[in-house]
Symmetry: C2
Subunit: 236 residues, 2 copies
Amino acid sequence: METASRPGLRERKKQRTRDALVRAALELFTANGYERTTVDEIVEAVDVSQRTFFRYFAGKEEAAFAVQTTVEAHFLEAVRRRPPHEAPSQALRQAVLANWDTIGETIESVVPIELHLRTFRLIESTPALLAVHLRRQEGLEEQLAQTIAEREGVDVDADPRPRVVVALFGGVMRLAGRAWGAGEDFSVAAMRELTTSYLDQMGPALATDWRTRDGEGSGRDGGHGRSGGDGRGDTE
Amino acid sequence: METASRPGLRERKKQRTRDALVRAALELFTANGYERTTVDEIVEAVDVSQRTFFRYFAGKEEAAFAVQTTVEAHFLEAVRRRPPHEAPSQALRQAVLANWDTIGETIESVVPIELHLRTFRLIESTPALLAVHLRRQEGLEEQLAQTIAEREGVDVDADPRPRVVVALFGGVMRLAGRAWGAGEDFSVAAMRELTTSYLDQMGPALATDWRTRDGEGSGRDGGHGRSGGDGRGDTE
DNA sequence: GAGGTTAGTGACAGCCGCTGACACTTGACA
DNA sequence: TGTCAAGTGTCAGCGGCTGTCACTAACCTC
């Protein structure tokens, strides 16, 4: 129970152990698969007892999401910092875009960014982890809804719009994330493009008639029309 | 008289065992909680071996979602049956509304509908089950996107709109489901109202300024739970 | 209907995730 | 330097889940 100002040796040691566990876990998960990695293997790599692992993490899953937690907090803070004159949907959009520029350093302070990217793809492709990921995102969306409601001065329980706008936004961002992980360009630039591309599709997708050009610029065709800025890759 | 369509004794016995397991599992889950219910308790209630349980279900979770699977298939089929002239967002809306009328019988053929409702609330309030629920919903959304793309004659991988419209729809439906489970009126009428109410908030939530009435066609509305006109009530 | 085939099951052993209990080590602080 | 508490290791044990194998019962053929 130290003051938050100075870490102290004990605290530093704890942090080091925790970081080592996260790194070892992510390394092993991405190398051999999540299910095929046992907790015993992780603790052996760090040379602590299995009991210690479960004192740091509620479960094997939690170790896999350690970095995600940091990223999410970073994004939530970015939304809170948006100027209050922005509309809710705009604030969310700008926050996520601005976030891509600074998120790198935040990640790198914990693990190599390349390891984080591999972890992200692992999560998307591992059913058990994907499930947890989606639940966590719902939790984040609830916090976002509270934030938006506060910004606009409405009651989050009486007015459905905060949760609705966040749910719409979250749904589209999931698509962008999925497309990013499934593609081959893992640069920040690619993610920015996918983000704006998908967000810009919200209007057209809700249009009453997809066959006339009342929303999408490139129009459509029956076959493999490459539409607009949608730089999606394969389907695997 | 045994017709060719008749399952056969072996098959019928299997179905009976499976149904018994589902009922016992849901009964125990809702009565004592998901985590606090052991597989041994379930198999004891049906008087089979634990090994048999895991031959029917990949895990304890799968038993909890047995009825949900039926409901989802039912809804997917309802979307496929919508007249092709409807816009995608309309087809989804009408399908879910029409679905509430017939879903009761579908459920009742497996377990008492009241047990299903308790199970639904259990899922929403149990983190482990909620995570699986969300992942399953994403799977359903992918199928919906394929269906929509087919209806509109577009390539689901080249045109982002099918997945976008489904993601928007799915996100809002999750909110409606959550509100339903959290409320106190578990009637079908209540769910219909919540559904239309939330769907109608999509436009207003995306409006640039929540403080003036410039939403997409519908004026803004301060509280939810409002009733009355969903406007386009043709359920066919 | 006798006999062979196969699907379904039970019994057993064992791995892995996870937890409680308790004793021991070590940093913190007087 | 001694006391205290945080952090850790060890051990025992439960519950979810799987592989194996022998056994039973439904199916199929003659």
